[in-house]
Amino acid sequence: MITNVIHRRRRAQRLLLLLVIMLPLTMLLALGSGAVKIAPGDTLSALLGADRGQASLIVQQIRLPRVLLAAIIGATLAMSGAAMQGLFRNPLADPSLIGVTAGASLGASLLIVAGGSSLTGFMGLSLVSLAAFVGGVLAVLLVYRLASSDNGTSVATMLLAGIAITALAGAAGSLLEFFTDNERLRQISLWKMGGLDGATLPRLLLATVVAGSVLLVLPRYALPLNTLLLGESEARHLGIAVNRTKLALITWVAIGVGTSVALVGTIAFVGLVVPHIVRLLIGPDHRTLLPASALGGAILLVCADALSRTLLAPTELPVGIITALIGVPFFISLLRQRHHYGMQT
């Protein structure tokens, strides 16, 4: 495939523009879908407060926080995934590789088994969410410590340490599940599947502040990430503060993914598939890859959540199942023509 730099950048701009237009449209459609269907026009007037009926109540009170939460979490997961793939120079890297998801699961399981699931923490956050966040961040810190030596942090060792910690946390989690009673087992299992049904205003606020700052900070590392794809030494030879960049990226990704796991549980594939698709379309330049992934992740999760509410309405499917069901076939079809896009792995 022949691609001029200017053309490639223009195409990236066009994709960004397209995604910027699609996101609000998707959100509008998602606000209208669910057990009670509302036409887009009525959704809009409900949003603007023009109509004070039942539609307004449903849209503003129930669906709006949920759709916004889905967008923010989707964006954070996808952008974190893009940053991790760049850092690990591996298009198959996923935020969960550094242990955050497994650590969060263990944290949540521990609290549920200890019987703390009915207690509330602060700002409408359950103690389970807090435990998940703490577990996720602790796991990343541990992985980072294991991979660090006087010579800096080895990305390859981090990957292996991440796998080890994930396995360890998984084993500990299984042990807990093995010894706990059926009711708690079901709680753990539901929590792990993830869901956006707990979207309340305080949670949305928290997500906006924390994940929002991750979304603002990560794009500042676009140029260092671009050079990191050449190799760590090469990035250093180009004047990049490699160790500082790595630490910053890992920290922000841990915060972003930790928050998202704490709020909505584990949602698979968004962080892996979205950046991969975007990269196939516009190339690996992180200056456009990061924002486009964020927008794509937001759209995917908003769609997936809308589907999870409508497919078996009034029953809600866990959103993680939907993201996998949408993302994977698309991903596989792209993989089958990957040579067309110049991907080797």
Binding site: V5, S233, G239, T345
Partner: protein
């Protein structure tokens, strides 16, 4: 002022010493070739100068200033390193890869593209510029990486004070492109860029270098002009190989013939 000054430098990045008591001075526009058997410390010397690890003792100065006291970005504007292996497996276009070489400079896309065009032409990769790096052959990739490090230091007239480190830049190149590399090196050296390179082909090293530095077991065992350094005795001692050293038909360098 010398571009590079090394005084009794020792390095032991992994415990055992890999470089011992290295003394070296490199002037602007000088080309120095490193030769020696496998494991002699040639690549280690380049990586030490590239800042991949620190010296355990001795002094390293770039343009009169201690190497580790240079601000990152200014250092990257002066010193570039072409490693033996490239890890890049993301589908950048060739032009994008070479543009990354301009990262330490803030000269703007237009000026950068101009420089990129010049280095692409110098490395015979201009026709590849819109191809994806991941779809290139080994030799093409090596030329693109060479273009990237050239872009990092490139200046059309004055390149004095810059240092280019090349680790086996010819390993994957065909004969025509090896000769082209020789021309490029002579060309940037004429503009004041100091070049240090590792080449296994001693005849190529002799033709491109003003001076050869012979390393063995981490120590400098000989240094000087190709005529002075390349002797049958050296090859017997270092490589355990019997060679014939003749004057080259071009009259400018010795010619080493393996027996």
């Amino acid at each position: 002022m010398s571009v590079l000054t090394l005084q009794s430098v020792d390095a032991a990045p992994w415990g055992d010493p890999v470089l011992t008591d290295i003394n070296l001075q490199l002037e602007p526009g000088e080309v120095i070739g490193l030769i020696g058997p496998n494991g002699a410390g040639k690549s280690s010397l380049l990586r030490l100068l590239a800042g991949d690890f620190a010296a355990t003792s001795g002094s390293l100065r770039l343009a009169g200033r201690a190497l580790d006291s240079w601000p990152r970005q200014q250092l990257a504007q002066r010193r570039a390193f072409l490693p033996q292996l490239s890890l890049l497996n993301f589908p950048y276009t060739v032009e994008e890869v070479v543009l990354l070489g301009r990262t330490p400079h803030s000269t703007g896309l237009r000026a950068d593209q101009d420089i990129v065009r010049q280095v692409l032409r110098a490395t015979d990769t201009l026709s590849l510029r819109n191809r994806l790096y991941t779809q290139l052959s080994g030799g093409e990739r090596q030329r693109v990486q060479l273009a990237r490090v050239l872009a990092q230091l490139w200046h059309t007239t004055d390149m004095s004070g810059t240092l280019l480190l090349l680790d086996e830049p010819t390993a994957a190149l065909d004969l025509a492109h090896q000769q082209q590399l020789t021309t490029v090196i002579a060309d940037i050296a004429a503009r004041g860029c100091a070049v240090m390179l590792v080449v296994h082909d001693v005849n190529l090293a002799a033709s491109v270098s003003d001076r050869l530095l012979v390393l063995n077991a981490g120590q400098a065992v000989a240094s000087g002009s190709p005529e002075a350094v390349l002797t049958p005795a050296l090859f017997r001692e270092l490589f355990h190989a019997e060679v014939l050293v003749q004057p080259h038909p071009n009259g400018r360098q010795p010619l080493v013939i393996g027996l």
